[in-house]
Structures are given as C-alpha cells and as structure tokens.
Symmetry: C2
Subunit: 155 residues, 2 copies
C-alpha cells in the first residue's frame, strides 16, 4: 500500500476532466484520488471505503461509488469484474494493457502482459466493422501452490 503514483499528475488529470464536464471539484473527490494513488493492488468500493475510514477520511459509500465511476469515465481507473465478485478497480497507469490469470481454487490473481492480444482484438474488431476501445482477457486456471490455494482467498 505504498505506491504514491504521481498523485499530482492524477489530481491534475482528474481536475481537468471535472472542469471539462462542469462537475465540481470537491474535497471528497480529491481525498479519493489521493488515497487511490497510495494503493498498489486492485481494490473494490468497500475496501476503499474502509481504507479511507481507517485513515480518518470521512467519505460515504455513496460518494465512493460515484467518484469511482467518474474516475473510470476519465480512464484514470480501470474497472474489472472477476467472476461473480464485486467490481474491482485499479489505476490504469499502474500496468497498461495487462490481463489477468485467475486461480479458480484460491482466487489469486496474477497480472500478465501479452502484446499479441491487443493486435488480435484490433483485427477482430476491424473484421466486424467495429472500432476497438479495449479488451478484457481473463484466464481461469489452477495454481500450483497448495498452501496458497488452501488458505488464501485473494492473494
């Protein structure tokens, strides 16, 4: 939980977005982006809510959800949905164009980059006359680490 990805740069990017859309630049929204920059891992709305509460920030769940939505709109965050779980978010800048390898036994998620998938998704889109925006590839598998598979749920 100590990444400190360019908070300034993120805050700036967010402020620009808000201005362009004529949304207000509130304290809560700024707190959210500060805290998000501290996170290294995927997180969901409730984890962020609890994290911020633990840090003494007083931001409601409703605001968390609404701000996460804004941050996804302006591509600061990527929103993922693994299996039947709650939505997970992560900084788009953290590891561009990666996909996920998910252990169906222990829930562990490994990130990987495989550039050919990008090219494939572009060519498939073109083939059907679509304009590609992004893709999401999830590979479900079983990891080989029995200890993790027995004890962990999302490590």
């Amino acid at each position: 939980m100590a990444n400190n990805a360019d908070v300034e740069q993120l805050a700036h990017q967010f402020a620009e977005f808000l201005k362009k859309k004529k949304y207000r630049n509130t304290q809560e929204r700024n707190k959210v982006i500060e805290r998000i920059a501290e996170l290294d891992e995927h997180f969901n709305a409730d984890e962020l809510y609890l994290y911020m509460n633990a840090k003494g920030d007083k931001v409601s769940r409703a605001t968390i959800y609404s701000t996460l939505d804004l941050l996804t709109q302006c591509h600061i965050l990527m929103k993922h949905r693994f299996q039947g779980e709650s939505a997970h978010f992560e900084l788009a800048s953290r590891m561009p164009n990666h996909d996920h390898l998910i252990c169906v036994e222990c829930g562990r998620i490994v990130e990987f980059r495989e550039k050919s998938i990008d090219a494939i998704s572009v060519s498939v889109s073109k083939e059907f006359g679509f304009k590609r925006i992004r893709h999401s590839l999830q590979v479900f598998a079983v990891c080989h680490d029995p200890t993790s598979c027995e004890h962990n749920t999302q490590d």
Copy 2:
C-alpha cells in the same frame, strides 16, 4: 428461438451427470433442458424463467437458478458475465471456444472464434505454473451501425 439443438443428446448428457453425482432426475430439470435447447441466443436466468412461464411451464426462479448451476457444472452451459449485467448462459455446444465483441454503445454482442487465443492462454498459464482451465475474452468496441446503436440495447 428455434434451434432445437440435439435435445436428446443434451438430456442424455445431463441425465448421466445427475446419475453420477447422485442428484435426482426431476421433471423440472428436464423441462429446463428442453427449453434451453430451443434458445438460440444468450439468455439470463430471468429471461429463461419468463420464457418458460410463457410456454406454460411452471418452474420457479429458485429452480431455474439451481438447474442453470448444475448445467454449468457439467459443461452443457457456459456462464458469462458481461460488464455489470446479470449472468448470461448459452449452450456450450452452440459455438465452442468463441469469444465476444461487445458494442459499448448499443450492447450488441458479436461472437467470434480466434484460435490463437487458446494457445496464448495455455502458454501464459504454463509460464506462471498454472494449469489452464478456460478463458474469457471480451473486446469492447463501437459498432458502425448507427441505427442499431441508437435503438437497441441487446441486439
């Protein structure tokens, strides 16, 4: 809604699964598989429930959910989760190993087969010491058909 994929073969496959697992072969479960064989498209639990009700079958939502789960377990159905929507199902035999191209404007879903993705998912799994089970690739894009994009939500 008129495919009539091998109902017999599906029913047989399901019956075998039930027997092996010592689950009971009930009227409701059989009705479900019959109706599913009639469906050409993806569907969700509620759509199936309404479809069956319209056809005069009296099967509760609880049973629909439980039966869809069994059918997924024995690989007769594939279960997908697109975006933030409800779970969608489709016959696995309908189009093996395909992935989805999704228009973010109109929601239209195009299926495509691109065999190289399978190979990639296997080699990535191996690289991390995982044993691949399956993958799910969703390509988000904008389709070029303005009419559809304006009026439809899931066509």
